[in-house]
């Protein structure tokens, strides 16, 4: 089917630039052994700024997991992990990555081997087990940055513990890299990191406009930079451009979904192997997923960062991220997003891969229905492992949900 002009207009020109940047990044990472740079594997929510200050190339197995999922290689790789004895019930990022690491398979021929591993458990306990596996396989030093879970608050003793670990982390890096840590440089990296996060939040905020110039699916795509290159000027430059493009779209009245009538909020990670299908399915109902809790997580704890004291404030910012807080705290974030983006419904992805994100969703759903009175639905998947996903089942659910939304009619203020 040839693209219509409207469809062409809806494409982001920044998408091409973003692919280029990601390609450059992976080439640099994969040729690190030739350039003499060290490579660290780090968790997506891990404190990356000290690595950048040390000239270490950070590599994110979770970003790679997303690539695996989007390129439909997840099922095969997960099956390989199962053959090694890993249960099908485990996180599919971890399973796919474990299989890749053993056989250099997967997109871009596998990730470059790590010289060190940096695991921050502010997202889950899975990463700790996963990084232990990689530490045995690659036999390289492992640093665990332990961020105590904040059920209701961030306790004083936890604050001290995390702050001390920053010093230990720096000591660890100095040992592996055999050079001194440059605090001035780290201040600069910290500033760039915060700038990048602010810009990313601005990009996401553009979706508050009606009709929205972007969807959560676009956010899932553009997220890669704030994850992988946080703390560099590349991120700042790119998101500045992207924000520009958002503004142009708003000015020109370009909407991400043709005839946007309903606005929805997505919770949890994406279903990486069905992005297009889900996007089309909702669009066919004139529904735009305007925002999501996942991509927002990379700028959610900005309020704790002190620009002039990045290293100290990092402790709190990295501990109080979205997944490291209690269910009721998460619900509050969702309430705020419902208001900010003026959504008509909540789509919860019940993600078998991610227990810390998914358990508690039923309670959040009830709170949302009570406090915000909007319909909610649940869609189950294993975000990277496509083998058990049933399109027809998902379509039936979405249809039923959209029917409820349609009967209620769009929220006041909807342009029509």
């Amino acid at each position: 089917m040839p693209q219509t002009d409207a469809e062409k207009k809806r494409k982001f020109r920044s998408a091409k630039r973003m692919r280029e940047i990601m390609t450059e990044y992976y080439i640099e990472a994969k040729t690190a052994d030739q350039t003499g740079k060290k490579v660290a594997w780090i968790t997506s929510g891990g404190p990356v700024e000290p690595l950048i200050a040390m000239d270490v190339i950070p590599v994110y197995p979770e970003n790679y997991g997303a690539m695996i999922g989007a390129s439909h290689m997840g099922g095969d790789l997960c099956a390989k992990a199962e053959a090694l004895g890993y249960s099908t019930d485990l996180c599919s990022y971890a399973r796919a990555d474990i299989a890749c690491a053993l056989e250099d398979g997967g997109p871009i021929g596998g990730l470059p081997k790590p010289d060190m591993l940096v695991c921050c458990n502010n997202i889950c306990g899975t990463v700790m087990k996963w990084y232990e596996i990689q530490a045995r396989l690659f036999d390289v030093p492992l640093f665990i940055f332990d961020t105590p879970f904040c059920h209701v608050d961030f306790a004083e003793e936890a604050r001290r513990y995390v702050r001390t670990q920053i010093d230990e982390y720096i000591g660890f890096l100095e040992g592996v890299c055999k050079k001194k840590f440059d605090f001035d440089r780290s201040m600069e990296v910290g500033r760039l990191s915060l700038k990048g996060q602010r810009l990313w939040q601005d990009v996401l905020d553009a979706a508050a406009h009606r009709p929205s110039p972007m969807t959560a699916f676009d956010a899932f795509f553009f997220l890669a930079l704030i994850v992988t290159l946080r703390g560099t000027d590349k991120v700042v430059d790119f998101y500045t451009e992207l924000l520009e493009e958002m503004k142009e779209r708003v000015n020109q009245g370009i909407s991400a979904v043709e005839n946007e009538r309903y606005r929805l909020l997505w919770d949890n990670l994406p279903v990486w192997y069905r992005l297009k299908w889900l996007s089309d399915t909702f669009a066919a109902h004139e529904a735009c997923l305007v925002a999501d809790t996942y991509t927002t997580a990379w700028c959610g704890s900005m309020k704790y960062i002190d620009e002039n004291n990045f290293i100290d404030s990092m402790a709190e910012a990295y501990t109080r991220i979205y997944l490291n807080i209690g269910v009721d705290e998460m619900a509050k974030t969702i309430f705020a997003m419902i208001d900010k983006y003026e959504v008509d419904g909540l789509v919860m992805h019940s993600n078998r891969s991610c227990k810390p994100y998914s358990f508690g969703q039923y309670d959040i759903m009830r709170m949302v229905q009570e406090k915000k009175g909007i319909p909610c639905m649940m869609l189950e998947s294993h975000m990277v492992d496509e083998r058990s996903f049933s399109e027809s089942q998902a379509a039936t659910r979405i249809d039923a949900f959209m029917e409820v939304i349609r009967q209620r009619g769009p929220r006041a203020g909807t342009a029509l």
């Binding site: 971890a94 458990n121 306990g125 227990k355 358990f359 309670d363």
Partner: protein, 389 residues
């Protein structure tokens, strides 16, 4: 043996026992994890009781938890929501796996059992900062208990609790050792009942009863002969005494374990000198590690092989609850470590109920039969020093 009867009875109906304690005027505090700082609860004059999450997979948990959640967490919530835990005056959630972490949130928001505390332990149990943090966390827990119940936990009462716990743990360890040396001494089900009841019974009384039982066991029980291949049981929490019977009927016997409701709960002693809270922390820090905590990438594998060798285990049965992330991640590597040490293993994954009996019997039988010719190597001095071999 008469002395066993009470253990068996309490293990069969832990809730009924806890209710009696409460009726006698003592407050009961429940917990689900072997990292719970029980000594502090006990020193506060409260009664710590281990909960087993045996509420069954009734539909009520579906209102809060997806089907891909382990049966322990689902059962725990179901038991609370259906009123089965009405004897509790409080619950304590040490931080362990992602599922318990969220259960704690759901619990705090939906159940009402009085006192509630998250004890957010460090996840890594190495390094000075984690060591200090663990002490701080226990101190906070002590303060929380004191302020909620309006009492003071004195240093003296802590010391006394530590001594009681040390005796209890060393008794259990010796009972395990005796059974390992002479497997016929106790059936698997009996051993299971002793440990399980120990997590529930009044601790002073328990100490005396365990000591009495131990005196009797030291004499040995003539006429009882343990048969079957020497096996070790490894996993999370075991709620199925039937498993022991099935193993025994399939030509095996459990001579040691690495279970949350087994050696992981009672291993390690607490230093009786120095600051008591710091000493309690030290034991938790140093004790045999649970897979939801980090000691080193290879700590559990090394420990498992050492234990299996020390107890002359000919094979290992991994008994896992389905949907348990920490254990499932460790499985391939543990299996590999055992294999390299020449110890075969098998995996039994279960949900809240056991699979049909015939199926388990066949699987275990096949396993025991594949263990190769019996060496007849009962635990001798030689095999006991096989640790380095």
């Amino acid at each position: 043996m008469d002395k066993l009867n009470e253990f068996i009875e309490v293990a069969g109906e832990p809730g009924a026992y806890a209710r009696r304690i409460r009726a006698s005027g003592r407050s009961v505090i429940g917990y689900y994890c072997s990292y719970a700082p029980e000594e502090i609860i006990h020193a506060a004059g409260l009664h710590p009781v281990r909960l087993f999450g045996t509420g069954g997979d009734s539909g009520i948990a579906d209102r809060h938890l997806q089907a891909y959640c382990c049966s322990l967490v689902r059962g725990a919530l179901a038991e609370s929501l259906t009123g089965g835990l009405d004897y509790l005056d409080g619950t304590v959630f040490p931080h362990t796996c992602d599922s318990i972490q969220r259960l704690s949130d759901i619990w705090r928001l939906n159940t009402g059992h009085g006192f509630f505390a998250d004890v957010v332990l460090p996840v890594k149990l190495t390094g000075e900062s984690a060591r200090q943090y663990l002490i701080d966390v226990l101190q906070r827990f002590k303060r929380d208990l004191e302020s909620y119940f309006g009492l003071t936990v004195t240093e003296e009462s802590l010391r006394s609790s530590i001594r009681i716990y040390n005796t209890i743990r060393s008794c259990l360890n010796e009972i395990y050792e005796l059974k390992s040396r002479n497997p016929g001494l106790l059936t698997g089900r009996e051993l299971f009942s002793i440990v399980r009841a120990s997590m529930v019974m009044d601790r002073e009384g328990l100490r005396d009863k365990l000591q009495a039982l131990l005196r009797e066991l030291r004499e040995g029980v003539p006429g009882r002969d343990g048969r079957g291949r020497r096996l070790m049981l490894v996993g999370n929490a075991c709620n199925h005494p039937d498993v022991y019977d099935l193993i025994e009927r399939s030509g095996g016997q459990v001579v040691w374990d690495d279970l949350c409701t087994g050696t992981r709960w009672f291993s390690g002693a607490i230093r009786e000198e120095g600051d008591p809270v710091a000493s309690i922390a030290e034991r938790l820090f140093e004790r045999q590690v649970c897979p939801s905590k980090h000691k080193s990438p290879t700590a559990r594998g090394e420990h498992l092989v050492a234990q299996a060798r020390e107890h002359g285990a000919e094979g290992v049965i991994f008994l896992y609850l389905k949907f348990c992330d920490p254990h499932s991640f460790d499985y391939p590597y543990l299996k590999g470590y055992l294999k390299d040490a020449g110890i075969p293993s098998m995996l039994l994954e279960i949900e809240d109920t056991l699979p049909p009996e015939g199926q388990i019997l066949t699987r275990i039988e096949t396993f025991t039969q594949m263990l190769g010719p019996e060496t007849g190597a009962a635990l001798t001095g030689a095999s006991r020093t096989g640790r380095e071999g």
